[in-house]
């Protein structure tokens, strides 16, 4: 129940912050639009360019989402009060990570049709597989992002630290998501790049396992 309550609280806070949601949507849509213009009008490998654009936009916009989630916890001490309830730290983490995942998933739903239209790629037939790839990438993003956000909380240079920690860690997820999405859009299957699924699962599991081990320590290290 703790995780569900934290999830509901985070989603409510995001949903009420129209300015943040508009910034997030406009930033990511602009990225997709600018890159589609930069790659076009004659695309050499539209599936590759579209998937790279989609995932670059998602990963960069995701940092905005994580930073906002960090600010919500620290601006009036809500995160400190959350600790003082004595709630199970991993349940708190699970709720926050799920909220971050859902925010990124909503962004993916917004950006996917734009990328598909701008680059003229993809069919509805492979949509379920593309969604599974997105889930694999976004679970890892949320798992690691929530953990690193907790680590950066309370620091003056938290946005910088978050980016420095997050992007190198997530490179395997980004490459995997790009390769698998490209393969689905171009060839309709992932046969040639199937190993990336295993790599992405490993990164996801590692992120969650590390959080289960370290989240309480990180939370208690805040002063």
């Amino acid at each position: 129940m703790t995780a569900l309550r934290v999830l509901a609280k985070d989603l409510k806070l995001h949903a009420r912050d129209a300015r943040f949601l508009a910034t997030l949507a406009l930033f990511s849509l602009s990225l997709v639009l600018i890159l589609s213009v930069a790659f076009g009008p004659l695309f050499r490998d539209p599936a590759r360019e579209a998937s790279a654009t989609l995932w670059a936009a998602l990963f960069f916009a995701g940092v905005l989402g994580l930073t906002r989630a960090l600010d919500l916890e620290s601006e009036s001490g809500g995160g400190e009060a959350l600790r003082l309830t004595g709630a199970d730290p991993f349940s708190v983490y699970a709720g926050k990570a799920t909220a971050n995942f859902l925010l990124m998933a909503a962004l993916w739903v917004l950006l996917l049709p734009c990328a598909a239209v701008f680059f003229d790629v993809g069919t509805l037939e492979v949509l379920p597989e593309v969604a599974v790839v997105a889930a694999l990438a976004l679970i890892g993003y949320a798992a690691w992002g929530t953990l690193f956000a907790a680590l950066a909380r309370g620091l003056k240079a938290r946005e910088l630290l978050l980016s420095i920690l997050l992007f190198p860690t997530l490179i395997p997820l980004w490459i995997g998501a790009v390769k698998l999405t490209r393969s689905l859009w171009a060839e309709g299957s992932i046969d040639a790049v199937r190993d990336w699924v295993k790599i992405m699962v490993v990164v996801d599991v590692l992120g969650i396992a590390l959080a289960a081990w370290l989240y309480e320590t990180i939370q208690e290290a805040e002063e």
């Binding site: 609280k9 806070l13 601006e75 009036s76 001490g77 400190e80 309830t85 004595g86």
Partner: protein, 213 residues
Amino acid sequence: MTLAARDIEKRFDRRAVLRKASLELHPGEIVFLSGPNGSGKTTFARILATTLAADAGTVTLDGRAVRSALTESRRAIGFAGHRPLLYLGLTPLENLEFFGKLAGVSDARARASRLLAGFGLEEFSGIPMEHFSRGMLQRVALSRALLPQPRVLILDEPYAGLDEQGADTLNTLLSEARSRGTAALLISHTRERIVPGIARSYALRNGVIEASA
């Protein structure tokens, strides 16, 4: 429950803020701690409330170190400090219900409604708090600390921002808590408006707690 702090030391960078500060809070008593600005009152309060770790010394609850049983300790201690410790994007009722349920209070919503009504915030209970005044936030913050009916209350400058009616409500609630056996530590730089019936008074000077008149 008896909360005891013994020989607490805390440094920030090279500056020693607390030097062997000790204090005991017994069930059903209200203790007052004063001290000038920058004397370390808030640091001491945060250490008692477990949001900050001491460099040396121990804080125990009925003889058991609070840091060795954080969940139980946190559920036994209610804390309100300088910051509201609330989510400003949520309404007062949503905040209190959220924190109350996480703290294991089954009738959190009903208790929250009663507390907000007592503090005169009934008509604001469904409005997100971004534009609340300092005094309104303080009332919600105190409600959050009082809602789980903790066995120990640590209130740092609890009267800050409160008008007469708010201060009276707080004093009434503190008297009720005392009659239930709750131990309370009221921390303030001034004794004005403090609840009558203070058991003992202390002052924090140069990082040490001394008995005070």
